[in-house]
């Protein structure tokens, strides 16, 4: 294939990766930014979203779009509920101690993974896309659904941004993120904010997962890669910066696709990872963080 079309394809693929990654990472970034805890179980909320999407869409007969839309609504709500309960029952009692929460969320990771294996099984199962339109370009065909994922993700990101910047809830969250004690002094129910943020963070991951299952299947071990990539995105983008998270997701998604044009696949992975690591090392505050004094 010629260079131009090849680049186009790599860019399209990169965009799809970026779109899903941005949503997942945004969830992690919220939890990370507001609650100051590292949620190792974040990838499992992603997985849970995908698995529930399969369960819901197969339970509903009729046109695949009906099942898919139902999954898109119900799966994130259920995942949010699970996260809310986990926060309520465990994290709160740990007083959000950074080290304890790491162990606790590793525990959650095991529990969620095992429950998925027991009740869902070890197979990879596909979810039918709501529509399957193949866009025929002069050089290759491309999935129309993939492009719609990019659009859906963009819309969701804009909505999140509006909620964070233009609403009272967003203000409360930002205030809590800025200074927990002061927020408390101003009568903000910090505990409820934390529970809400943890649930919303998990829901964002679940939404991303529902969007991606028609492309890649639901599998009980699918949570690990999104977790690692989300961590990277959050740190590279700069903690608590929505703009940074999105830009970092696009950067990582695109670099993964485009570097793969020039090197053998595994070497491309090595180079892409190393490049991002070096960005991190030489700009530790992230792309959009401000340098400390």
């Amino acid at each position: 294939m010629h260079f131009g079309p090849h680049l186009l394809l790599a860019a399209l693929e990169g965009l799809v990766t970026s779109a899903v990654l941005a949503l997942t990472a945004l969830g992690l970034s919220l939890v990370f930014g507001v609650m100051r805890i590292v949620n190792v179980a974040h990838g499992e909320f992603f997985m849970l979203g995908a698995v529930l999407a399969w369960a819901i869409s197969t339970a509903i007969s009729g046109h695949p779009a009906i099942g898919f839309v139902a999954a898109l609504v119900i799966a994130p709500l259920l995942v949010g509920l699970v996260a809310f309960l986990a926060e309520w029952l465990v994290l709160r009692r740990l007083n959000y101690n950074p080290e304890s929460t790491i162990v606790a969320t590793i525990g959650m990771l095991y529990i969620i993974q095992q429950l998925a294996l027991t009740f869902y099984g070890p197979e990879a199962r596909p979810v039918e896309p709501p529509f399957s339109y193949r866009i025929l370009l002069p050089w290759f065909g491309y999935s129309g659904y993939k492009l719609s994922v990019v659009a859906a993700s963009a819309i969701l990101l804009v909505i999140t941004w509006l909620v964070l910047t233009r609403t009272r809830i967003g203000l409360i969250m930002r205030a809590t993120q800025y200074d927990r004690e002061t927020a408390q002094a101003f009568g903000i129910p910090v505990e409820r904010v934390y529970a809400g943020v943890f649930a919303v963070g998990a829901m964002l991951a679940a939404i991303a997962a529902v969007l991606i299952v028609p492309i890649s299947q639901a599998h009980y071990l699918m949570g690990q890669d999104p977790l690692l990539l989300s961590f990277i995105v959050v740190i590279i983008g700069g903690l608590g910066s929505l703009r940074g998270t999105v830009v970092a997701a696009v950067l990582i998604g695109l670099s993964d696709g485009i570097v793969s044009m020039f090197f053998s696949p595994t070497l491309a992975k090595i180079i892409a990872t190393l490049v991002v690591a070096m960005v991190l090392v030489f700009r530790p505050q992230g792309l959009f963080g401000t340098a400390p004094r």
């Binding site: 990370f32 590292v38 190792v40 465990v90 009692r93 740990l94 101690n97 080290e99 304890s100 790491i102 162990v103 606790a104 590793i106 525990g107 959650m108 990771l109 095991y110 529990i111 993974q113 095992q114 429950l115 294996l117 027991t118 690990q224 690692l228 961590f231 990277i232 740190i235 903690l239 595994t266 070497l267 992975k269 090595i270 990872t273 190393l274 991002v276 690591a277 070096m278 991190l280 090392v281 030489f282 530790p284 505050q285 992230g286």
Partner: protein, 320 residues
């Protein structure tokens, strides 16, 4: 408090080593073998604890130091036909060298960025193992044949695959690292490391080059973890990329947090605990991960500082 009871602390550690020695003769066969593994891996946890517990640097990339030792020892035996002692030294040297390079880069960052940075370097290391599969055996790994795992000491051939020899070798490494750790944390260097964990800025203003101290800690930690990896390769005869995966970076963190960060014996207790919870529960249910998960959460709820950390806080303040 530091100087209140050094004798007590040393006595306790020597007693632990003596107990482990006696266990070799008492434990049922299978558990003798399992303990050998646990001791070898507890060294990994101790190396991790050195950096995480005492300096407060949370790395998510220590699998690379462990596997640097694993491959450093394994590949020199496999490809170059080196003897066990040389291979062990090669493994430790690989780990120390890698730790020096990674330390120089990753220590430019701190906090979560350090965590993610080390994780990414470890991922690169993991992919490199796969990329050079022609030498490393890739994900399948390589088997170090029994015949190459024999040490000749003063005319006697010690076969590392013999259960008692293996147990004692693991114990020897464990004991040496344990006592070195104990001496280290009680030393001036150890005091500086703790000071860096508590307040790096303040430590600088006492005239310490905290960067150099942290680098030294990373190298020491990397070397100890590599020693564990090298021992694992030579004692158990298998070298594979799964040891370089992110799972093996999380495990030592888990072991240390369970046993008690910044306690000398915590890593052993944490490793022991995780191994036995997995081993026992997997015997009667296939859903043992669930039980492991619940156990972790209960433990962290009721022993937030890990087993030994909580014991030290509540009852035995003198524990090192």
């Amino acid at each position: 408090m530091r100087d209140a009871s050094p004798a007590k602390a040393y006595a306790l550690h020597i007693a632990v080593v003596a107990l482990l020695f006696v266990l070799n003769f008492v434990l049922p066969d299978y558990h003798q073998g399992l303990f050998a593994r646990i001791m070898a891996l507890a060294v990994f946890a101790m190396g991790y604890n050195l950096l995480f517990g005492y300096v407060g640097l949370l790395s998510l990339g220590h699998a690379m130091f462990f596997s640097a030792g694993l491959y450093g020892a394994g590949l020199t035996v496999y490809h170059l036909g080196w003897g066990v002692p040389e291979a062990f030294v090669a493994g430790v040297a690989c780990g120390a060298l890698l730790a020096l390079v990674i330390g120089l880069l990753a220590l430019r960052t701190s906090g979560v960025a350090f965590m993610i940075g080390t994780m990414m370097f470890a991922q690169v290391f993991y992919l490199l193992i796969l990329y050079f599969a022609a030498w490393t055996g890739g994900d399948q790994g390589l088997v170090i044949q029994q015949a190459s795992r024999v040490v000749t000491v003063g005319g006697d051939a010690l076969d590392l695959t013999d259960p008692t020899v293996r147990y004692m070798s693991a114990l020897a490494l464990f004991a040496v690292v344990l006592l070195i750790t104990l001496a280290l944390v009680r030393s001036r260097f150890g005091r500086v490391l703790v000071a860096i964990r508590e307040n790096e800025e303040r430590t600088k203003m006492l005239g310490y080059d905290t960067g150099a101290n942290k680098l030294a800690a990373v190298v020491a930690s990397g070397a100890v973890c590599a020693a564990s990896g090298a021992a694992y390769a030579l004692l158990f005869g298998y070298v594979g990329s799964s040891f370089a995966s992110v799972q093996y970076s999380i495990l030592p963190l888990l072991w240390v947090l369970l046993g008690g960060a910044a306690t000398t014996l915590g890593p052993l207790i944490g490793t022991l605990f995780m191994y036995y919870v997995t081993d026992i529960t997997s015997g009667f249910t296939s859903a043992y991960l669930l039980i492991v998960g619940v156990a972790l959460i209960l433990l962290v709820l009721f022993f937030p500082k890990g087993v030994l950390g909580s014991i030290r806080q509540r009852w035995l303040g003198w524990l090192p």
